[in-house]
């Protein structure tokens, strides 16, 4: 079976004056999956979303979104997508209910009022429905925003940093909604600076760095690329070199020494290197251990390794 792509872009470029926001974005998102665009501020994530949702015109490149050519059939694309931008994209002068009714009507939803009521209920906004949206809290506004993107179930939903600045409860609510949508077959493209978010939600992660996709893969794939991190803490600084020798032999990677913590660590891609084996080997080499661990890599590690960028701090 061939994969159907909900989003397929080739060489998308966009320049703002001297700033090359995108330098050739190649992105393939399979239908019904969640793709996380992960990258630091200024990597080009938002520009990518704005191009793919017809808000910006690319300088070069092409893309198909929800089965339609982005440049030749923008109207057809707009009928099939939902977008929640980074800034609030509802009308603060209107109430929550008025906002949803308006967007439902513009989407040609048959019973716009009923649809608005249903969404208000589902997103916990029924009580605030008749207050102007400008008075909503950050979390409520984000929920209204997301509801507004769902007045007609979109084939592809774009979320630009959907949980930035939200408290954990609001964040979990948004995550649940995204998971629920993919069960219904919606493809989701979300940008995030939060590694945990990408890890939790995304089927594939595209690491965006300086206007390009630096790497694509599932979260486990990306982590496997990096390998695990084996680290031991010894009793005495004098035995650190000895421990490093053992780790070198076991992992084949050059160990790093942290003299303050008396810790020695190395990256390992060997799946047979388990914690008991690590302890046994060091013990038989006569290295007195205080602590030992094999830690799976975080996406932080992945990002640092694959892009060489140190800006991403979760």
């Amino acid at each position: 079976m061939t994969t159907t792509y909900a989003v397929l872009s080739e060489g998308l470029k966009k320049r703002f004056g001297d700033v090359h926001a995108l330098r050739g974005l190649d992105l393939a998102v399979a239908q019904g999956t969640v793709c996380g665009l992960l990258g630091p501020n200024g990597a080009g994530k938002t520009t990518a979303v704005r191009l793919l949702t017809t808000l910006l015109h690319p300088d070069a490149g092409s893309a198909r979104v929800a089965g339609h050519d982005l440049l030749r059939e923008p109207a057809a694309v707009r009928r099939r997508i939902g977008v929640t931008g980074q800034d609030t994209s509802v009308d603060g002068d209107l109430t929550g209910r008025q906002n949803l009714r308006l967007f439902a009507r513009l989407h040609r939803v048959r019973d716009a009022s009923a649809r608005a009521d249903e969404l208000l209920e589902r997103f916990g906004l029924a009580e605030a429905a008749d207050r102007p949206a400008s008075g909503y809290s950050g979390g409520m506004r984000r929920r209204l925003d997301l509801a507004a993107s769902l007045v007609r179930r979109p084939d592809v939903l774009f979320l630009d940093e959907p949980t930035t600045g939200l408290d954990p409860a609001s964040r979990n609510r948004i995550w649940d909604t995204v998971r629920h949508l993919t069960e219904e077959g919606t493809t989701v493209v979300l940008t995030t600076q939060y590694l945990e978010e990408a890890d939790q939600l995304a089927d594939t992660i595209a690491l965006v760095d300086r206007g390009r996709v630096a790497h694509t893969g599932s979260p486990p794939e990306l982590k496997a690329l990096i390998g695990a991190y084996a680290e031991v803490v010894v009793t005495d600084a004098d035995v650190m070199v000895k421990a490093a020798g053992v780790l070198d032999r076991l992992t084949g990677a050059e160990p790093a020494l942290d003299r303050d913590r008396k810790a020695v660590g190395a990256v390992t891609r060997d799946p047979t290197l388990t914690l008991p084996r690590l302890v046994r080997e060091l013990d038989s080499a006569g290295v007195p251990l205080l602590d030992a661990s094999i830690r799976p890599p975080t996406l932080d590690d992945v990002f640092l390794r694959l892009t060489g960028s140190k800006e991403l701090v979760a």
């Binding site: 997508i81 609030t88 209107l94 513009l106």
Partner: protein, 272 residues
């Protein structure tokens, strides 16, 4: 076209709801001319070389024209508010006719203005202004007033989208207060120095104010020799739009709409 009508109606509804939820700007812009009528009519009017009642009769059509020209200001403020807020991004990603948003704004403004002008007309009547034209002339005057408002709003919508941010648009909008001052809305142009008079007479507000005076008070504009003619008298050798005020006003409206409406729609629809 039916798409435009449907989307435009939805956007009209949006604008009317916005105004209902937040009527401050509209109330201010529609009550301002009443304050000015009383202030100019009684304070300045006492220094104008016209009997007080006569000056107020001169002033009411002028204020109506100047208030209609205020569509430029409110158009700019609303368009820039919209342009720099996230809701425009959402509307641009919806399958909505590109002309619907600016058209909805212009029509909503017209609906609100039509209602908002009634208090000014009533206060005008209370201070001695009279409608002396036929029913057809009166209807024509009110129609012209709304047409001029519509034309000015389109100019405002385009100009409101040009500045980089809302503050810059607000500053630009605040400079528009000079436009009625550089017209014959408040003061007859007769006594002005030649170069200023030419400038004033080519101001569209002057043509509309003169047209309103001639339609509301045709008797006075017809009988120039009767002394009181200053209400509607057209100065000799006036520039064409003021010498032929009704045709001149219609021509100004046509030009403003033809220039600004298509460019405002294009500007709105253009992807950045």
């Amino acid at each position: 076209m039916s798409t435009l009508a449907y989307d435009g109606t939805a956007m009209l509804g949006r604008q009317l709801k916005r105004i209902r939820n937040n009527p401050g700007l509209v109330v201010l812009t529609q009550t301002m001319p009443i304050t000015m009528l009383l202030f100019f009519g009684y304070v300045f009017g006492s220094a104008v070389a016209m009997p007080g009642e006569r000056y107020r009769s001169f002033l009411v059509p002028g204020l109506l024209a100047a208030t209609a020209a205020g569509g430029l200001t409110t158009g700019m403020l609303q368009a820039s508010q919209d342009a720099h807020r996230g809701v425009m991004d959402r509307l641009r990603t919806l399958p909505v006719s590109r002309a619907a948003v600016p058209l909805g704004q212009a029509v909503a403004d017209l609906v609100v203005t039509a209602a908002g002008t009634v208090p000014l007309l009533l206060v005008g009547l209370a201070v001695g202004w009279r409608i002396e034209g036929s029913a057809a002339q009166t209807a024509g005057a009110l129609g012209l007033l709304l047409l001029f408002r519509f034309a000015c709003t389109w100019a405002g919508i385009l100009l409101g989208m040009l500045p980089r941010n809302e503050e810059a648009a607000g500053q630009l909008a605040s400079t528009t207060f000079v436009l009625p001052l550089l017209s014959n809305a408040y003061i007859p142009a007769d006594g002005m120095p030649g170069w200023l008079r030419t400038l004033v007479e080519w101001n569209p507000i002057s043509a509309v104010a003169t047209a309103l005076r001639s339609l509301f008070s045709p008797r006075l504009s017809a009988s120039l020799e009767q002394g009181g003619a200053a209400i509607a008298r057209v100065p000799s050798h006036a520039a064409w739009p003021v010498a032929h005020p009704v045709a001149g006003s219609l021509a100004w409206c046509a030009v403003l709409i033809a220039v600004f409406a298509p460019s405002a729609v294009r500007r709105y629809a253009r992807p950045r």
